[in-house]
Amino acid sequence: MKQYETVIGLEVHVELATKTKIFCSCSTEFGGEPNSHTCPVCTGMPGSLPVLNKKVVEYAAAVGLATNCKITKNCKFDRKNYFYPDNPQNYQISQLYYPICRDGGIEIETKDGGKKTIGIHEIHMEEDAGKLVHDEWGEDSLVDFNRSGVPLIEIVSEPDMRSADEVIAYLDKLRLIIQYLGASDCKLQEGSMRADVNLSIREAGTKEFGTRTEMKNLNSFKAIARAIEAEKERQIDIIESGQKVIQETRRWDDNKEYSYAMRSKEDAQDYRYFPEPDLVPVVISDEWLEEIKAAQPEFRDEKINRYKEEYKIPEYDAQIITSDKHLADLFEATTAICNNPKKVSNWLMVETMRLMKENNMEPAELKFSPENLAKLINLAESKAINSQIAKEVFEKIFNEDIDPEKYVEENGLKTVSDDGALKEVVKKVIEANPQPVNDYHNGKKKAMGFLVGQIMKEMQGKADPALANKLLKELL
């Protein structure tokens, strides 16, 4: 069989974290009643007119700068014309001729540990469509315009990727950059980051590109990897059987692990772009660009260095904590309160990660407050609770964001550091366990562990283990 090379380019849509929509003052918040976040502009009422949200330009330019793009000084909006019920005007305001950013690229790490630059062809601003809900048994679809007009940037890469691994690495890097900018939370599952995969294959060694297809509806990294694999196989099969790949848009069904063509004779794919007459050009002056640059947050590499210097935490900790912006933010906020960076980092890297994994969660979904984690660390550090209790309390914080001080108080979990009370228990344990006591005296130091365990059991875990140890040694 011939050797084939897969050529992949991505179109990544990212929902920007603005408070309002791109062309009107409706909220972008998730979860409102259907059509509650709407107005004449985002529902395409006759006579309504768009007015551009300034923050959208700033976020788009910031992403462009962070991905090494050239910023278009004089950028313009165009109309993309197509009929679909989630698109209230039956045109989408987007950018074709003068997109805000062009000619950038980001570096990814390849599987063999090497570096590779993935080119970014352009980034443009546009509006999102509404949502269609399909009545499974009926003959209708229902339209909700709450998402209509939510600002998007579309990041179009060059066809520089050759495998699913490179695609994932590129997406991961992109996600991190955008999250750090605060321009979006980039959740694939919720659709605030969406990737369409353009894929073609060619015989290894050839220069010419093959005919590409565009794959839509990919909402997890796993789905992307599976879709790439399946599409590669599909195209190879077509070519091997002497047929030609058709340029088309395909929809991926991740449950069936199968894609199907979205073609229809009513779908001419002729978008009749022309300059949007209702919006004036956006001129990005050098001064404005400087302001946007100056407002840029610290990126990951800078953060890692600062964490090592300022917080004296090891490189390894810094790497893990900065691997997600939410985690880094949580780290900094908690440290600011309890002033104990190493402990904070430990709680995040060990218990937090463990529970996230168990619950199949992303850092963006963490609900607990830095205040409560800081209180917990203080409780543990002051020995008010012991480490086992601390772990139990943390699970409560993780799940319900409870106030640990109150919780420990109400549930009587405070370590008993009252010598008298503990002494009584130690005496009781010594009396009840003559054999281990004997073993101890005979030099079996392991018996000590058993006895401390018994004391903790009697104390329902509330004893300070160090104090118990000390008293036990004294009384033995």
Binding site: M45, P46, V51, R79, Y91
Partner: protein, 487 residues
């Protein structure tokens, strides 16, 4: 004398002076409508109850001294492509025949703030596409000077209502001459302001880069006063321009000494009716007598304005009118098989022939492979036309010419040959492409007794120049009431 014979500012003054009550004024308009509407068909919607209720409110505000505008209490009619909250807004199309907006166009809001009382919505060419007001779903409006003739269009309902004295003044919209040409055909004064002067928010778009709302009235004084009220910098319209000076009435002076008036030879060549030519050139001479300096010149590019206009306007319209699809508002066909069939049937049944013709042309010129050849070519032509006007306005304060090649044609004679109808816009269309202000005012009648209009064009933001010249000319003649207004 009937109240309806008064100008807006004249009636407004009487209302402020308590010589006339707002209810009296509004009743006069409603009575006139009732009497004449059958013959003329200017209105799609008449809001008798709303107008009378509003009249009382406005009277109270005037009595309390809270409304001092000289338009307060004066009955007005609004072209039916401007949204009015709670009042049917149809664009004279079947596809919007049941549309009741929940918001009011900014220009209309500005009028309401000044105390205007809306008596109804006026007929128009469907979606403002046409030059005769015959493409309306609600039937043609008839010319108050001779009901066998058209009113012109697309603001034919507004112009006829003013000429027939069914209202005191009206708002129209002008995309390629849609205020100026019917004003000329109906013997009234109409003005298209500089693009961006009046907010387009709430105006149902035809050609977004060309559309502009403007006044239709009995005289220049009213036009200036109305423009002063409706013009505003609107943050809801990104193409709205913030102007330094909104004081248009200050240009109402009878003095044109030293004003340079350019007369483009290209506007007086073949195709221009002899009687129209004579009347317009006589008007120019009147201005010369008052001290204006006349000079003939070659504007150039005149023949290219119409093709460029139809490409741009139809392309924008094909996109602007895509939203009428039977999903969110307006007409939806009763029987259909699936989504695309529903779209196609609703739109095909809901739009009239001329609208479909322009949507088809607009979709074609934007379609894959033709964009550069047509659309970009048209935008380049527009740039050249704008340059030609820049050169002209470097020499002249005002450009004077006819509004249309002929007076109003007979009803039923225009639609069979659309191209011929389009050619009738030859003198008005350039102002829209170049964003210029223009005014149309009566300057005579032809042998059939139909009004002839003359057009004055000014440089962008120089409304005052044309208001001044128009006002000075107007002082040389009496306002002539249409036969129907006298009946």
């Amino acid at each position: 004398m009937s109240l309806m014979k008064l100008t807006a500012t004249g009636l407004g003054k009487k209302i402020q002076n308590k010589e006339v009550s707002v209810t009296e004024a509004v009743n006069a308009a409603l009575d006139a409508i009732e009497k004449k509407e059958e013959k003329i068909n200017s209105f799609v919607t008449i809001d008798r109850e709303g107008a009378l209720k509003r009249a009382k409110e406005v009277q109270q505000l005037i009595d309390r001294g809270e409304l001092k505008s000289n338009l307060a209490g004066v009955p007005v009619a609004i072209k039916d492509n401007m949204c009015t909250e709670g009042m049917l807004t149809t664009c004279s199309s079947k596809i919007l025949s049941n549309f009741v907006p929940m918001y009011t166009a900014e220009a209309v809001l500005n009028l309401e703030k000044a105390g205007a009382v809306i008596v109804g919505k006026t007929n128009m060419d469907e979606f403002a596409m046409g030059s005769t007001t015959e493409t309306s779903y609600y039937g043609a409006t008839k010319n108050p000077w001779n009901t066998a003739h058209v009113t012109g269009g697309s603001s034919g309902g507004s112009c006829a209502a003013v000429a027939a004295e069914e209202c005191i003044y009206a708002l129209g919209s002008d995309t390629g001459g849609s205020i100026r040409q019917p004003s000329s055909f109906c013997g009234v004064t109409g003005m298209k302001p500089t693009y961006g002067t009046v907010s387009r928010y709430g105006l149902i778009a035809y050609g977004s880069s060309l559309d502009q709302i403007g006044p239709v009235a009995k005289d220049v004084t009213d036009c200036a006063a109305i423009l002063e009220v409706i013009a505003s910098h609107d943050p809801k319209d990104s193409t709205s321009v913030k102007r330094d000076d909104y004081n248009f009435t200050s240009a109402l002076v009878d003095d044109v000494k030293g004003i340079k008036i350019g007369i483009p030879r290209d506007y007086f060549g073949a195709g221009l009716d002899g009687e129209v030519k004579e009347a317009v050139l006589n008007a120019a001479k009147e201005l010369e007598k008052k001290g204006a300096i006349l000079e003939e010149f070659d504007l150039s590019l005149v023949d290219y304005a119409i093709p460029a206009y139809y490409i741009i306007a139809c392309a924008e319209a094909s996109s602007n009118l895509a939203r009428f699809d039977g999903v969110k508002y307006g007409y939806r066909t009763s029987e259909y098989n699936g989504l695309h069939n529903m779209y196609k049937k609703s739109r095909s049944e809901g739009f009239g022939q001329e609208v479909k013709r322009r949507i088809m042309l607009g979709s074609f010129v934007l379609s894959s492979g033709y964009y550069d050849a047509y659309y970009i070519k048209a935008l380049k032509t527009k740039a050249l036309i704008k340059k030609a006007f820049d050169a002209a306005f470097a020499k002249y304060d005002v450009i004077l010419g006819p509004v249309a090649p002929t007076t109003a044609p007979e009803i039923g004679k225009s639609l069979s040959d659309p191209l011929k109808m389009y050619l009738g816009d030859i003198y008005t269309i350039s102002a829209n492409l170049a964003g210029l202000p223009g005014i149309s005012l009566p300057c005579g009648t032809d042998s059939k007794g139909l009004p002839i209009g003359m057009q004055l064009l000014g440089d962008c933001f120089k409304e005052k120049n044309i208001i001044r010249a128009a006002y000075a000319f107007e002082q040389t003649r009496e306002y002539r009431h249409s036969p129907l207004s006298l009946s």
